[in-house]
Symmetry: C2
Subunit: 457 residues, 2 copies
């Protein structure tokens, strides 16, 4: 048994180091025994950690069934390297028996030349299944579903069903549910394995099946698929075509990865980093720089405008250079208030939490919070500025500006995500530069105008 | 059948508006028929949207089995309101039959007085189950597991097992797996329902069970539980006590919510908003302000230091007020470069993506990216500053400072998350204020020092 937590991680480390030692010393039998109680995902990780030359040797130690499972967990670099070195028969053995959705995902990332060669070598049935999946748009239910499932007629009894399942050639098609279809292949109900095993042997599927089936279409976006599985607490979601005929099933394990990937994309967007969905730490330095520099240039441009405003107020600053002391405080705090509002609203929009709440209500709420925060911080800042520089007029300017900037920032931060969403743009990606611009440019303008009025300059 | 996507949302809206109309006109039979094909989670949402006075009426329309399911999905305000208005017998009917993990979660959020009253009214078996769960630490596997599962001996045959399951009183205990225990109640293997239905009737559980069971302990953190389920693509994870006896099971639907909740916490922390794990849009304005003001005060303090540095350079600024024009550009860009580095590193740490990568390697990589970005942006900024203000010495100061600040920011942004994690602090929460401080304070110092040297002031 593989223990949990820290012990578990230690064991994984141990497997990795041991495997390399055993392979180096040529003890293949020992390496084989070492891997027997290890889970496929952990074996994949251990193989990824090996020197390139020994990866194929380690992979060949696995039984055929295990090799297929492990192969699905390997990262694309190792998958490709192994495919190049496989003999023709090995490729057939492994790739032909992968589940069609995992295979389609792998083909997505392989060079076109290799994909054509592999497709040609697959058995006709598997080739067709893969081609169909690859025909659906990226990030849709059609692309992530598996076309393998068991469908039955509703007049079968429970014992007939159990017998039929036992005689079925491919066990991988039984997952969590059986699907009931009518004569025109339309989905009419589902039977969970649980319902099947607790039902009396002579009841028919029609009596135990659930008729209120939640399903999606092949072109439904994968994020919507994930939200549906999450909302209804189900482990497998049927996918139907435009005529509502069952064509596949999306399972919960794929959905967990999608939810995490979408969250990472949100986090990256809020942090000003482009994400292409693939692993950051597998990409090279130039790609990293390219993904960040666009966003930094946008901000450089923003700062040009802010700089121009400061430049046009040089005469004011020459008369009262003390005003510059509080510039970072005002733009900094404004930026943070705006970031807080937009973070909450963007996350709420993306997790559907504020789907049923009007934009007006959200923005009003955030504006109220902004004024409240502005008053608290403005009071503190006024007192502090007075104690620090001993100039009441300057201190008043700072305090009043802070309230105005906090209001502006919270309204911009909460309203812009709605505006961008209504244009069909990702709020997480688009809002940040505009909020920064609004707060920086207008903040400096507000500060200088208020200071000019109060100082009488 | 409930259709997907937009159509589905429309239908949910329709149920909500129709339900209110039917209840207002006193058409209880119509309301009852309306709800029959609707999923429990959608019924719960519809009830939450009703005026307070009619929520209980709507709830009473449901069948007993349905009422329990719907009740589990209601938010805590409505759960509490209903409990207050229930008659004694109704409370027993609903709360006694909730699954123990959902009940424990609900009790966590109810006032202590109501919890004591409810515990006293529960049947002894359910009371004990709830008390045990409530005894485990918050956010641990023990608190989120359900103690209901089926465990069997390994010498049973498949047909004996099926028969036993059918005669079992409580069907809710059958989920996705059956657990096999030895004489000292230790977990020795698991049998999935799939393995059970495809196996020949006369095979024994010992022959078909998987012996390499992944499990966690009752005190394992819920995030570790979620990562384990995600890593091994399983739908239910056994939980054992310190003597490795099976005590409960965590299912995948709870885990999806945990992964999303943890992502929201990360996003909030990066955006400078405290999160208490509950729904933001259910909290009042003062709580909202309280959660944000702490972070804003930290930044106010930071800006005090920056302000003091600017103040101590007033003589320099009076001689060359043009330097103030580029202050927002330098601190702003520095802040963004730092935010990018820390976003990537924090997300990588929290999703385990960089678990096996040394801190040194990550920081070096980020420092290289920082220098690269600094050189690109510094060149652009130098040219722009020269064209804008016509002063080569100032333009050079800006460009050189930008390279130095980008390097500083990327090192601080990538190193601080590791530092905070090694002290057992949440990197997402702690890193941001320190990165901002370092970049603002040191950035201004670097800029003024370089400018002073180049301008010869």
């Amino acid at each position: 048994m593989i223990p949990n937590g820290t012990k578990h991680n230690e064991l994984r480390q141990l497997v990795r180091s041991q495997l390399e030692l055993l392979l180096e010393s040529g003890n293949l039998q020992g390496a084989k025994s070492l891997l027997i109680p290890v889970q496929p995902v952990d074996i994949a990780e251990a193989i990824e950690g090996l020197p390139k030359a020994t990866q194929l040797i380690a992979f060949r130690l696995l039984s055929k069934a295990e090799a297929i499972e492990v192969y699905e967990y390997l990262n694309k670099e190792v998958q490709q390297a192994l495919i190049q070195e496989f003999k023709r028969q090995e490729v057939l053995d492994v790739v032909d028996k992968m589940s069609p959705d995992d295979r389609a995902r792998m083909f997505d990332e392989l060079p076109a030349k290799i994909v054509r060669r592999l497709l040609a070598q697959l058995s006709p049935k598997e080739r067709q299944a893969t081609a169909i999946l690859l025909g659906y748009g990226e990030d849709t239910a059609g692309r992530i579903m598996t076309p393998e499932y068991i469908s039955l007629r509703e007049n079968l009894t429970v014992s007939q069903t159990l017998e039929r399942i036992r005689n079925q050639a491919n066990a991988s098609e039984v997952v969590y549910y059986l699907y009931v279809k009518d004569n025109s292949r339309r989905l009419t109900g589902i039977v969970s394995l649980k319902d099947l095993v607790i039902a009396a042997p002579d009841t028919t599927l029609a009596e135990i099946m659930a008729r209120d089936v939640v399903f999606v279409h092949t072109d439904t976006d994968q994020e919507e698929v994930a939200r549906t599985i999450q909302r209804y607490d189900i482990v497998a979601l049927p996918v139907v075509d435009s005529e509502e005929r069952l064509v596949g099933v999306v399972t919960v394990d794929d959905v967990i990865d999608i939810i995490e990937q979408e969250a990472t994309e949100d986090i990256y967007a809020l942090g000003g980093v482009q994400s292409d969905g693939d692993s950051y730490f597998q990409t090279n330095l130039l790609t990293v720089a390219r993904r960040r520099v666009v966003w930094l240039f946008v901000l450089l441009l923003t700062n040009t405008v802010t700089g121009a405003i400061i430049s046009s107020h040089k005469a004011l600053l020459e008369q009262a250079v003390v005003l510059t002391v509080f510039m970072p405080l005002l733009t900094g705090t404004g930026g943070n208030v705006g970031a807080q509002s937009s973070t909450v609203v963007i996350r709420g929009l993306n997790t559907d939490e504020i789907k049923n709440m009007g934009a007006g209500k959200v923005v009003f709420r955030e504006a109220a919070a902004g004024v409240l925060l502005g008053l608290i911080l403005g009071t503190v800042a006024t007192v502090w500025a007075y104690l620090f520089q001993g100039d009441l007029a300057v201190a008043m300017s700072v305090g009043i500006s802070l309230v105005a900037i906090a209001l502006l920032a919270s309204v911009a931060g909460s309203a812009l995500p709605f505006v961008f969403r209504s244009f069909g743009l990702d709020p997480a990606l688009m809002s940040a530069p505009f909020i920064t611009t609004a707060v920086d440019v207008l903040g400096v303008l507000i500060y200088f105008s208020i200071a000019r009025a109060i100082l009488g300059l």
